[in-house]
Point group: C2
Chain length 323, copies 2
């Protein structure tokens, strides 16, 4: 059996159990889908990847994956694949790295050695679709002992632009470490606490690198970029600069050091499926100082490289490239 | 003054008013931003479009826009731009249609005559960022008398695959025509009722076209593709096939004919900003019959053309190409 739900358990019971109890986080090496119906399907079409169990040999294509890195932008995740290819001194040219999902423009996916790099677009729903299909892919491919990273950009709160934030807890708009998922019209709540060991290891890695200012902190995940993040520069804004500052100050007091738009569902789904996961985002601005991203393009590009550099260092240490 | 919020009104009052009262829908021709802070900004950088008020002459670039069509996939929105270029017999080659947002890979944008075609990715947060920046762009460009269409794909409920659904009301998971927006940590509710006149005109257009089965109905907007839409084939599933069918039946009884992931925020934002808007989505499958999208690729491509054909017909009639 490739899932660990007791088939005799009532469905309502499972619904309540999934991800709500911290003690339920399972320390196991295999990727777990939590869906008793999957084994009854003759074929599984991963529609948004343009891949499937009948059309592709997923164990052969992906069975050796040990690290999965996901990020919003397709261009950035291609650049990361090329970067890690060079960092790991893999054979062949970076020009030969192809988009495995070229049959669709929903997501882009690149594989370099044991590293998979995938784009997820912007926002919780977009990354959620990708994660469902990724977790099924890793399960079908029988992957084991994985670490999954989200590397992204974010707005900082009380930290200098360019600071990398390793997320302790992904929190919702009320600063709670939880994700509300609607299932058949009912809201269930899942924990968003991330893996402590991977976060500590990443922070240690940052101390070995120059010019990589890094902190650990909570990450506020919102469902929009403007009103939800307290920006004064959207098409709609109904609050004052003082009310904005008050909200950001409250967030800072709750341990929030950056704001982005995907971390809660990422943490929640990885936790339920027993995948060790980390969120590593660079801050592009300090929201105490403004809303618009007016930093020169070449500086932003350098900032965006920082989570890649940190995660690459982690991977190289894990693989024994660096002692 | 380019916004119609009374500056003397308290902010709390504005917060309660925005989009909650049906009588507040303003019949006016100009695109309205509802943000009193925008006129104090020296420059407005539309970050996710890679455009700005200082770096680009927005009135010159976009002032003649009369129709804006948005959809999830960048490839599809490029194809729509090429299609409408030919339909309107515009001069020049479709090969010369460039991505105006080529400085970023967040969204793609194409302009052909009076038609703007933009991709928005998947899910409410992704389209919400695009809409904030689009509405500001249309405002900066001083556009008037616009119609905005979302043309997309969806899952059908009780209609044959390939049916085009023109949305009456975009509804949330409890089948209410409302969108919950978090502003500074507080939830406010906005109406998602769409323009009756445009929907009627679109249905009339469909009656003039062959092989374009079209219905009007409500559209369920969810925040994910699997658990939120009652699919049995995600990485996580905690309900039975019977519970799924019951949820879909309840949706059908509430007038829902299709499910997608962007319509509520699209309807809510257009309504608040006084933009006439419609949602036109084709159904790729009938969810009463299954969850997986296994229809052959060439059939899906033909289905995806249908909302484009319908909206093109509408545009051609409005422009006097067809009497």
């Amino acid at each position: 059996m490739y899932f660990n739900i007791e088939r005799t358990t009532t469905m309502a019971h499972i619904l309540l159990r999934m991800g709500t109890d911290p003690s339920e986080y399972i320390e196991q090496t295999q990727v777990h889908v939590k869906n008793p119906h999957l084994d009854t399907m003759e074929e599984d079409i991963l529609y948004h990847f343009s891949l499937g169990t009948k059309t592709h040999n997923l164990p052969e294509m992906f069975g050796d994956i040990k690290f999965v890195c996901v990020g919003g932008s397709a261009n950035r995740m291609k650049a990361f694949a090329q970067f890690i290819h060079n960092e790991l001194s893999l054979p062949g040219s970076t020009d030969d790295i192809i988009d495995i999902c070229e049959g669709t423009d929903r997501y882009s996916m690149y594989k370099v050695g044991p590293v998979l790099s995938i784009s997820h677009g912007m926002g919780v729903p977009s990354i959620s679709i990708m994660l469902h299909e990724l977790i099924k892919l890793l399960h079908h491919a029988r992957c084991r002992d994985l670490v999954l990273f989200r590397i992204g950009t974010s707005g900082g709160i009380g930290v200098a632009p360019g600071t990398v934030v390793i997320t302790d807890k992904a929190v919702d708009h009320s600063f709670q470490p939880q994700f509300e998922q609607v299932v058949l019209g009912k809201v269930i709540t899942r924990s968003t606490v991330l893996d402590e060991g991977v976060a500590s290891e990443l922070l240690h890695c940052s101390s070995e690198l120059d010019d990589l200012p890094t902190v650990r902190g909570n990450t506020l995940c919102t469902d929009d970029f403007y009103e939800g993040q307290g920006r004064l520069d959207g098409a709609l804004c109904s609050f004052s600069p003082e009310e904005k500052q008050e909200y950001l100050q409250t967030a800072h007091k709750a341990g929030v050091r950056n704001i982005e738009m995907e971390s809660t569902v990422f943490a929640a789904m990885c936790r339920v499926c027993g995948i060790k996961a980390a969120v590593v985002c660079v801050t592009l601005l300090n929201r105490f100082d403004g809303d618009q991203i007016s930093t020169p393009h070449h500086v932003l590009l350098e900032y965006q490289q920082r989570p890649q550099t940190l995660v690459s260092h982690f991977i190289k240490k894990r693989l024994g490239y660096i002692l």
